[in-house]
């Protein structure tokens, strides 16, 4: 294969109209999350991803539901849609279906996605549309003052469970891996910025719905919930693979428990998702062979300017008055 036909490689073609987007381009309003909130770390990694992938702000959309994490679109210098509780997925799907050229990201909390939005979550996985979904899982409803969420640990006292939560928490990873057509699942805590960035990049480049569950600290209501994992690096199991996560030598010295895990192995991914003694960190599952709904439903007719005009004209005609 000739990479430099005519003495020119793809890198030689400079699109000067294409601006360079620095980190500041993706920064918008000053985040109003509490100091120490894991959402800050997620925002920072996402902004870095946007800069490094040079995503045009006018062609990038962040969609969210309701909750602390759903403030996310406000803090991005891109387009955004701060929608209804639990309905981030349907809105994002609608955008992607109509505008497949846009890069769509979805931000949801554990309550937003896994409680009121559960049906949409399940079907979004089945639709497998080409988007990145971030589940900010702090295991509590923070914005509404500490009610138990579907992922709240057993025994945790909250304003809705004053005697401690009774039910086993929902395992987001295992549940996601159990749904038909799942194509990408990763897990990362917010205090590993390098891993979060690497996983975001892998997820962004994956074709299909990439779900990243982020273990996120709430410093206000549950400041010590994750202390056992934060303070003991051995509680994290780093999943490494050539086709998955890779980490720097520096980080490998801190987090020494590594496991080579082939992300194409769904059965093993489910086993890892169900681990109780450690937190698996990395790509649990990845399969690009799963069909994407946005590809299946792609319009057969190109939407050219002429087509747009024709449709607009016909719509306007409905309001026209026939003077004859």
């Amino acid at each position: 294969m000739a990479e430099n036909l005519f003495g020119v490689t793809a890198q030689c073609i400079v699109d000067l109209k294409q601006e360079y987007y620095g980190l500041d381009v993706y920064e918008s309003a000053v985040p109003r999350w509490c100091p120490g909130c894991g959402d800050n770390a997620i925002l920072s990694s996402v902004q870095k991803l946007c800069r490094d992938e040079q995503l045009p702000p006018e062609r990038t959309v962040f969609v969210s539901g309701i909750g602390c994490s759903s403030r996310f679109p406000h803090y991005m210098g891109t387009y955004g849609f701060h929608g209804l509780h639990g309905r981030a997925f349907p809105v994002a799907e609608g955008i992607k279906l109509r505008r497949p050229d846009l890069d769509v990201f979805v931000n949801m909390g554990d309550g937003d996605c896994c409680s009121i939005g559960t049906a949409h979550w399940i079907h979004a996985i089945r639709y497998n549309m080409n988007m990145v979904a971030l589940i900010h899982d702090n295991e509590i409803y923070g914005m509404t003052k500490m009610q138990a969420s579907p992922t709240t640990p057993t025994g945790l006292k909250t304003s809705t469970t004053p005697y401690g939560a009774r039910l086993e928490p929902l395992n987001i990873l295992a549940a996601t891996l159990g749904v038909t057509n799942v194509s990408f699942v990763a897990n990362v805590p917010d205090w590993m910025p390098e891993v979060m960035y690497n996983l975001l990049r892998i997820a962004y480049r994956h074709k299909g719905l990439s779900i990243i569950r982020i273990v996120q600290r709430c410093p206000h209501y549950l400041p010590h919930l994750f202390d056992p994992i934060v303070t003991d690096p051995d509680k994290s199991l780093i999943l490494l693979h050539d086709d998955g996560l890779q980490i720097s030598d520096e980080l490998a010295k801190v987090y020494k428990d590594h496991l080579v895990h082939d992300p194409s192995d769904l059965h093993r991914a489910r086993e890892l998702a169900s681990m109780e003694d450690k937190v698996p960190v990395g790509v649990l599952y990845r399969n690009e062979e799963i069909p994407c709904y946005d590809d299946l439903m792609r319009p057969q007719r190109s939407v050219t300017d002429d087509v747009r005009q024709e449709v607009l004209e016909s719509e306007f005609d409905k309001f026209a008055v026939n003077v004859n």
């Binding site: 000739a2 005519f6 109209k17 601006e19 620095g22 770390a41 870095k48 387009y79 057969q300 190109s302």
Partner: protein, 820 residues
């Protein structure tokens, strides 16, 4: 929906000139779905076949006006393409390209992150403007071009970003050390480049010659001076006084000295004839030295010749120039070594004529290349061939403007370089090169000038393309890559055999008939696709307008299964009913299939065959070598098979023998047991697959025991030791670090805002929005400790207090301990 926020800090381009700055996106398939009515499609199919066979048009077939081959489409806005263009003929050294010079400027930028990217964009934008200016306004010095482009950039930019971009460029300009002339693509660039290379070569030759002539001149002068010093005239008191000089004239009695010297036995040894001859040679050498100095300072002048007589004049003039020089040098050498024999050499030199000069005599003086335009080739070719056959070291640059010619009866002519090659001149260096490859052209020029024999450089200058079609650079590069004007070097100076003298390595995809590259496009359903697609001679023909009659664009609704990509079509043995097509794109990015006539296909195949011949000469899949390889493989396979059979036979025989011995031994053991009375049980046979070792001698056992460690350490202890060593190493690594200064493990920062909220001057974010100590003196030790305590990932290390007078230090140091 939220509106995107402002793009402060980005390099925004003005609305004007948007079209020319925008690199085209992937082309897209346009048109309606193919017809489903079989009868209608059959009519379409027939029309396509009619066009293919005899070029008959039908209604659905459209011309290819305004279309360019799909491979060339991404390069449509050529000023934004960072190709090896335009050439910068620097005052010294190899020619560079503008792209490489600005690339060096970018490389040397002392900025990181976003700031670096912004500056990089400014330089690239400026480079693009310079490229455009050279194309539209012609050659100019680099410094002048830089300034002119700066003005254009300033005009094009919006006011709010003009200053920052101009600052970037002014700063970059200070790093620009190169000087030279920037020349647009074409014949002038080729001649300028040839001028530089020829001048460089001439400088080297003239320096050598001048050194040789100077040495001879000195020798002859010294001989004459010595001889002159022996004459009575040299011994007069006045001459002796003059030879000593005024400083010491009072110290000598020159009268007495003169008398004394006159009494000596010495006298002049040179005859008057020899002295006269030597003086005449010296005069000739001086004259030639003067001529050489003139030649060195004179600019090379390449008049384009268009008549046969001009070539002969050039050859004859060079011979005459060389003749005088060679004669003077030869005579001087003989005189200097006292070997000149008037009786023998006099008549020889009198009879010496310019046509007797040897090849090495002719290359002593720089040779001015002869430049011939392709359109004059037919007129001058017979004389040119005569000169080449005579082995005179003539250097010819043949400027090719149209590598393919459709005017001849044969259809399409072979490029002249390949024709000369086919004529089989083993002592002529023949090169074929496209001007798109600047370094190759310079290298080829240098080879041609250095070769001590005739040399022809066929250079494609791409001038048939222009503003209405593709850029001439692309035309020249495309001709090379489509194998229509492939690069080759046949230099007998590198060896007599083909393997030594012939090179085709500068071409792409050497082992393929056509180079293959991916084409990206959007399909009718808007999905993005990427397919490998060959770039063939047909694509090159479609790029110009001369062969437009051989191509027709067909709408998508008329696509059918009998349309076959041309590169696949060319590989088929049975082509009945099939129509080949290539992909072309219009200026709006619409992608079309374009069918081509049999005539075009036939010519493309001939180009492929010619390339195949070059491949064979260049040793790529050489058919003779492949045949030999096949024969050798078969022979080796036969030998291996025979050897395996022999080994099998040997092993079988050995097995049979050992089985027999073992059987006998068993029988004899049983017999001994039965007959001997003692029921000694036979030795148990060894376990299947086990190896029975002979018993070790006592010495060997002792040695073995000595080899066993006295106290083997358990595995877990060894691992622990390994870990300890590792820890020790880590400890060693960290030994050099000082913990007195506060620091943050920035890579692990989660951007939580805790520390920056406490004191934004003490703590700050870097370009990746991760915290570091911005100024340790901008805050208190208390703030450092507080931040360390609040940091959710415990990556802030307060160090030791800077201010010994800070209140409550004892308490703070204690609180800081867990974080050190």
């Amino acid at each position: 929906m939220q509106e995107p926020t402002d793009t402060k800090g980005t390099v925004m381009l003005p609305e004007s000139g948007v079209e020319q700055d925008r690199a085209p996106g992937p082309p897209r398939v346009v048109g309606d779905a193919p017809l489903v009515d079989e009868e209608e499609m059959e009519i379409v199919r027939s029309a396509h076949l009619r066009f293919k066979f005899v070029g008959v048009d039908s209604e659905d077939l459209a011309s290819i006006d305004g279309l360019i081959p799909a491979h060339l489409y991404p390069l449509l806005r050529f000023e934004t393409v960072r190709a090896d263009y335009p050439a910068v003929l620097t005052s010294e050294g190899e020619p560079a390209s503008l792209t490489s010079i600005t690339g060096d400027l970018i490389e040397r930028l002392e900025y990181e992150g976003d700031e670096r990217r912004y500056r990089e964009r400014s330089i690239l934008r400026h480079e693009s403007v310079m490229r455009r200016l050279v194309d539209t306004e012609g050659p100019r010095p680099l410094s002048e071009l830089w300034n002119a482009a700066l003005e254009v950039v300033a005009d094009e930019l919006a006011a709010d970003e003009r200053e920052s971009v101009l600052d970037h460029l002014r700063e970059a300009r200070s790093g620009l050390s190169e000087t030279g002339m920037v020349v647009p693509f074409g014949r002038e660039a080729a001649l300028a480049l040839l001028g530089r290379v020829a001048a460089e070569r001439a400088r080297e030759q003239l320096a050598r010659l001048r050194s040789e002539l100077g040495r001879l001149q000195q020798q002859l002068k010294a001989m004459l001076d010595v001889d002159r010093s022996e004459t009575p005239e040299a011994h007069t008191p006045d001459n002796l006084a003059a030879s000593v000089g005024q400083a010491f004239s009072g110290d000598f009695d020159f009268e007495a000295l003169s008398e004394l010297m006159d009494q000596g036995p010495h006298g002049p040894t040179l005859t008057t004839e020899r002295r006269t001859r030597m003086e005449s040679i010296l005069s000739a050498l001086s004259e030639h030295l003067g001529t050489l100095e003139d030649a060195e300072t004179r600019e090379s002048n390449f008049d384009v010749v268009s008549k046969p007589a001009q070539i002969l004049d050039r050859v004859s003039a060079h011979r005459d120039r060389s003749f005088g020089l060679v004669k003077a040098v030869q005579m001087a050498r003989l005189e200097a070594s006292n070997q000149y024999d008037e009786g023998q050499h006099g008549p020889q030199f009198d009879a010496f004529r310019p046509d007797q000069l040897s090849k090495s005599d002719l290359v002593s003086l720089p040779i001015t290349p002869v430049v011939v335009n392709q359109r004059d080739l037919d007129k001058v070719l017979p004389v040119l061939q005569e000169c080449l056959d005579s082995d005179d070291p003539i250097k010819v640059l043949l400027m090719v403007e149209t590598p393919v010619s459709a005017g001849t009866k044969a259809g399409f002519q072979t490029p002249v370089g390949q024709r000369l090659l086919a004529a089989g001149r083993p002592t002529t260096a023949i090169f074929q090169v496209s001007l798109a490859d600047l370094k190759a052209v310079a290298d080829v020029f240098a080879q041609a000038l250095a070769f001590p024999g005739p040399a022809v450089v066929c250079l494609y200058v791409g001038s048939e393309y222009g503003p209405d079609s593709i850029h001439p650079y692309l035309g020249a590069a495309a001709a090379r890559d489509a194998r229509v004007f492939p690069h080759f070097e046949s230099n007998p100076g590198n060896g007599r055999e083909w393997a030594g003298r012939f090179r085709i390595e500068r071409n792409l995809d050497l082992s393929e008939i056509w180079p293959i590259s991916n084409i990206r496009y959007r399909d009718h359903d808007d999905s993005e696709r990427e397919e490998p697609w060959a770039f063939t001679a047909t694509d090159l023909m479609a790029a110009g307008s001369r062969f437009a009659d051989g191509f027709r664009r067909i709408p998508r609704e008329h696509w059918h299964d009998d349309l076959v990509p041309l590169h696949d079509f060319l590989l088929l043995d049975h082509r009945d009913g099939l129509v080949p097509y290539i992909l072309m794109v219009d200026t709006d990015g619409g992608l079309y299939r374009v069918i081509c006539s049999d005539k075009i296909v036939g010519w493309t195949e001939r180009v492929g065959f010619r390339w195949r011949s070059l491949q064979e000469l260049g040793g790529i899949d050489n058919s003779h070598a492949l045949q030999l390889l096949e024969t050798e493989k078969r022979r080796l396979a036969d030998e291996s098979r025979k050897r395996i059979e022999e080994v099998e036979d040997e092993l079988r025989a050995e097995l049979d023998q050992k089985t027999g011995v073992l059987a006998e031994q068993i029988v004899s053991n049983i017999a001994a047991g039965l007959l001997g009375g003692g029921l000694a049980s036979p030795a148990a046979p060894p376990a299947r697959g086990s190896i029975v070792m002979p018993a070790a001698s006592s010495e060997e056992k002792a040695e073995d025991e000595a080899a066993v460690p006295v106290e083997a350490k358990p595995a877990d202890e060894a691992i622990e030791e390994g870990i300890d060593e590792e820890a020790q190493e880590e400890g060693d690594e960290e030994e050099g670090l000082s913990f007195d200064e506060p620091y943050i493990e920035t890579l692990r920062c989660t951007t939580c805002d805790e520390c920056t909220t406490i004191n934004p001057r003490l703590f700050a974010y870097n370009e990746n929005k991760q915290a570091y100590i911005a100024d340790a003196t901008a805050g208190t030790f208390r703030e450092l400790v507080l931040a360390a305590e609040k940091c959710p990932v415990k990556i802030i290390h307060p160090g030791k207090p800077l201010d010994p007078d800070e209140p409550h230090l004892d308490e703070l140091i204690k609180r800081a301990e867990p974080f050190q």
